[in-house]
């Protein structure tokens, strides 16, 4: 029977059915010809080896990355010590790069290196996810918006896609050229909308805002503070400069803001928060909105202090003061980024443009600031800059800002009291001194008078007769015989 069936069916050798390892059991093609038991053994061995290899590779890559990072750090080291923020950002980017290398590799290995990778990855996914969420949201909003534009919406979308594609290829170009492309793009789209699709100017403006938001959320990563420029260096210079100018008081800048008033100091704090927040936005227009918000708070602060609306003469010094006080991160990068990639019509004429211009002006002023612009003498300015002395600050600044107002006031009063006390003591001692001086003076005078009296004893001279003047030089006068008296002779 068996022979028959063999002849009739597919010819399979008996040995082929058995386990490859020759243990006597039947094998199975699904187990690569092994029997179940031998397959388990064999597979386990191979897996162990694979894991081992993966481990080694992972370790090697890690080492290389670390070395590269260490060397890049040591070159920046000196500068970046004081700028932990930048450093953080840098290192964040670094870890992100590291993990992308590992991600590749973790796809092939399944278990071994996984744990370690997870550890290294921990900080970055949140960033990545956040960014992509933001990008996604921007795209969704954009598409929603385009739906309202009907026919022109499709055209806009196509143009944007083409532009983004083009920009992708232009990453190697200098940032000025990229900026020019973006500006050309804005202008072309706006023109097309206006002339071809006959959209009203207001709507064009709205569309342009959306387009800017959409493309700039995508491009931000590549064109904000790019490595090809010295933006970052300039950031550091400005930051250092502002730090060196920590001693500048509102009085020196003629800032018409009185921070003693709680509402005003509130406004100042809000303004500072706004200007610092600018760095966290990605779309130029959102950054501009932060500046405008900051400016509005400044205007409010001035209005409360002066009780009249602020003019530019009040506003600019206050903005300078806010920038000095807030020291916003990556100031130059932000300004450059906005200048390069903001929709020009907004930047040049509108209200946002006005405040942005003022900010540029404030930064320029801070960069050039010298003794003359603060009405100080050159010596004072140099001394303050070198940190040898600092101008007398307002008392309130000596207390950290989180102390409550009452306590601040109390400290202030105590301070005043102790000053008063000191002054009183000084007055008393001065008074005593004065008393002593007076006594000494009387004594002195008495003594002097006595001396003089002794020196020149009182002599009462006979009164000189004016008639004797003629012969006053005649000393022998009294030796003369008495003048003849008339005598009466009885005759």
């Amino acid at each position: 029977m068996s022979l028959k069936s063999e002849r009739r069916g597919i010819h399979v050798d008996q040995s082929e059915l058995l386990c490859k390892k020759g243990c006597g059991y039947y094998g199975n093609p699904a187990w690569q010809g092994f029997c179940s038991k031998c397959w388990r053994e064999e597979y386990h061995k191979a897996r162990q080896k694979q894991i081992q290899d993966d481990w080694e590779l992972a370790e090697r890559l890690q080492r290389e990355e670390e070395e590269a990072y260490a060397s890049s750090q040591s070159t920046q080291g000196a500068q970046s010590l004081t700028f932990s923020k930048f450093e953080e950002k840098k290192s964040n980017e670094k870890t992100r790069k590291v993990t992308t290398v590992k991600k590749f590799f973790s796809a092939s290995s399944r278990t071994g290196a996984k744990k370690e990778i997870h550890e290294a990855k921990a900080p970055s996914p949140s960033i990545n996810r956040q960014v992509s969420i933001e990008t996604d949201r921007a795209s969704k909003e954009f598409i929603e918006f385009l739906k309202t534009c009907h026919k022109s919406g499709q055209e806009i979308y196509k143009q944007c896609k083409m532009f983004l594609e083009a920009m992708h290829h232009k990453r190697e170009l200098s940032i000025e050229e990229q900026s020019e492309c973006a500006q050309d793009f804005y202008q072309n789209v706006a023109e097309k909308l206006q002339t071809r699709s006959k959209v009203s100017p207001e709507k064009v403006e709205k569309a342009m805002d959306q387009i800017e938001k959409y493309i700039m959320t995508r491009l931000y990563k590549y064109v904000f503070c790019p490595e090809t420029t010295d933006d970052e260096k300039k950031d550091l210079v400005v930051q250092k400069r502002i730090r060196a100018l920590h001693w500048v008081t509102p009085q020196m800048l003629c800032v018409p803001v009185n921070e003693e008033i709680p509402e005003v100091s509130d406004m100042v704090v809000k303004a500072i928060t706004d200007i610092i927040e600018m760095d966290s936005k990605r779309v130029p227009r959102d950054k501009l909105a932060c500046i405008t918000q900051c400016s509005k708070h400044i205007f409010n602060a001035i209005k409360i202090t002066k009780n009249e609306p602020a003019s530019a003469d009040d506003f600019l010094p206050t903005l300078i003061y806010i920038v000095l006080k807030g020291n916003p991160p990556r100031l130059q990068s932000n300004i450059q980024y906005i200048t390069r990639f903001c929709n020009p019509s907004r930047l040049m004429t509108g209200e946002d443009g006005y405040y942005f211009t003022n900010l540029c002006c404030a930064v320029a002023f801070i960069e050039k600031l010298d003794a003359q612009s603060l009405n100080l003498s050159q010596e004072d300015f140099d001394r303050y800059m070198s940190g040898q002395t600092s101008p007398k600050k307002q008392e309130s600044e000596n207390w950290s800002s989180d102390v409550c107002l009452g306590v601040k006031q109390m400290y202030k009063n105590l301070d005043l009291l102790s000053q008063l006390n000191e002054r009183q003591e000084r007055i008393v001692s001065e008074a005593k001194k004065l008393e002593k001086d007076l006594i000494d003076w009387t004594d002195g005078i008495t003594k002097e008078v006595q001396d003089i009296v002794e020196k020149y004893p009182l002599e009462i001279k006979p009164k000189n007769q004016p008639l004797a003047a003629i012969d006053s030089e005649n000393v022998e006068n009294d030796k003369l015989p008495p003048p003849l008296q008339p005598q009466v002779y009885a005759g």
């Binding site: 083409m162 403006e205 209005k303 602020a310 003469d313 506003f315 509108g350 946002d352 006005y354 612009s373």
Partner: protein
Amino acid sequence: MSGQRVDVKVVMLGKEYVGKTSLVERYVHNRFLVGPYQNTIGAAFVAKVMSVGGRTVTLGIWDTAGSERYEAMSRIYYRGARAAIVCYDLTDSSSFQRAKFWVTELQNFEENCRIYLCGTKSDLLEEDRKKRGIDFHDVQDYADEIKAELFETSSKTGQSVDELFQKVAEDYVQLMAFQVMTEDEGVDLSQKNSTYFYSCCHH
């Protein structure tokens, strides 16, 4: 407010205390110094919509800080301005000297900016003719020489204030009409530019 479209950038230049802010205040809110101020928080930037021959034009009026310590930065302000109102105090000849400084700057760096000379505080002269610090004819000659319009205004009485800004808007509209007439070629150029721009991104 901040999203408002603006057609023309008009920049106010002039020494401190010549009355730039008062001039803007007078024009936009029709008031002088005393008065309820609750509506505005600042007069540094104002957008004013006005109509010229049936067309609406929005003037964006930029106030600038006149103090000498910011002189070096003034170039940042007037970049891209279509009109500059250079103010001087009619009773203060030194303010006119400073006005001349800005005129020179504008001529050198902002060719497309039209200049409007504006003598302020003319009401003071009504009170006392002798207060005039600078001769009218001298200024008129100077204005002709630099091809500028000349106005003598009073923010207190409102004299010539509306006329000044109306003229600014009219000049802009005229200029635009003129440009549209002659711009056909310009549009063509930019079209070519854009095709070039897109063709190069495909390779």
